[in-house]
Amino acid sequence: AQTVTQSQPEMSVQEAETVTLSCTYDTSENNYYLFWYKQPPSRQMILVIRQEAYKQQNATENRFSVNFQKAAKSFSLKISDSQLGDTAMYFCAFISFQGGSEKLVFGKGMKLTVNP
């Protein structure tokens, strides 16, 4: 089964600090894609960062970066210089191609609160 596990249901951090959100996944596929999505109270899923599994270099988008450990099936998100607007639910996800169907599989999410 293709699964995504986010073991920390909730975290809080002070503004301007750095926080790391953890994610592990399980797949038998060798080529896949990993994502972090942010979901504010408005409920719209917003892409934060995308990683291609065949690329060893960790993806970076401004204050957001990932630590992708393919052998360990780990995909953590680091947010530097946290801002109040980063407060949201964060979902780790990957695209599975198992059974010929392209499906985005999500973890249960983690609630991040950035405090002033």
Partner: protein, 116 residues
């Protein structure tokens, strides 16, 4: 460029009544998804279209749920009759690719359904 548009944003209905949700994907996106998100959970795929063809509807409860994408552009998701357990957010999403593309999936703001 307009994003994925969904309507209505909010809907409250009595159980056993029908309800329909509409989605217009990003222009040019061939693939359209409907996801169900229960409170405190990550989204789960209901159905995926490539153009007008439903290529994965294995998770769609076909006894009460139906969907269509007649011209390969906008789509409608219907529930009839609604049950209390259908209260959730229904997310529509689209992506430009087909097959094993791993393209980013873009989400709409969701349709919040409350069944009373």
């Amino acid at each position: 460029e307009a994003g994925v548009v969904q309507s209505p944003r909010y809907k409250i209905i009595e159980k056993k009544q029908p309800v329909a949700f509409w989605c217009n994907p990003i222009s040019g996106h061939n693939t359209l998804y409907w996801y169900l998100q229960n409170l405190g959970q990550g989204p789960e795929l209901l159905i995926r279209y490539e153009n007008e063809e439903a290529v994965d509807d294995s998770q769609l409860p076909k006894d009460r749920f139906s969907a269509e994408r007649l011209k390969g552009v906008d789509s409608t998701l219907k529930i009839q009759p609604a049950e209390l357990g259908d209260s959730a957010v229904y997310l529509c999403a689209s992506s430009p690719g087909q097959g094993r593309s791993g393209n980013t999936i873009y989400f709409g703001e969701g349709s919040w359904l409350t069944v009373v």
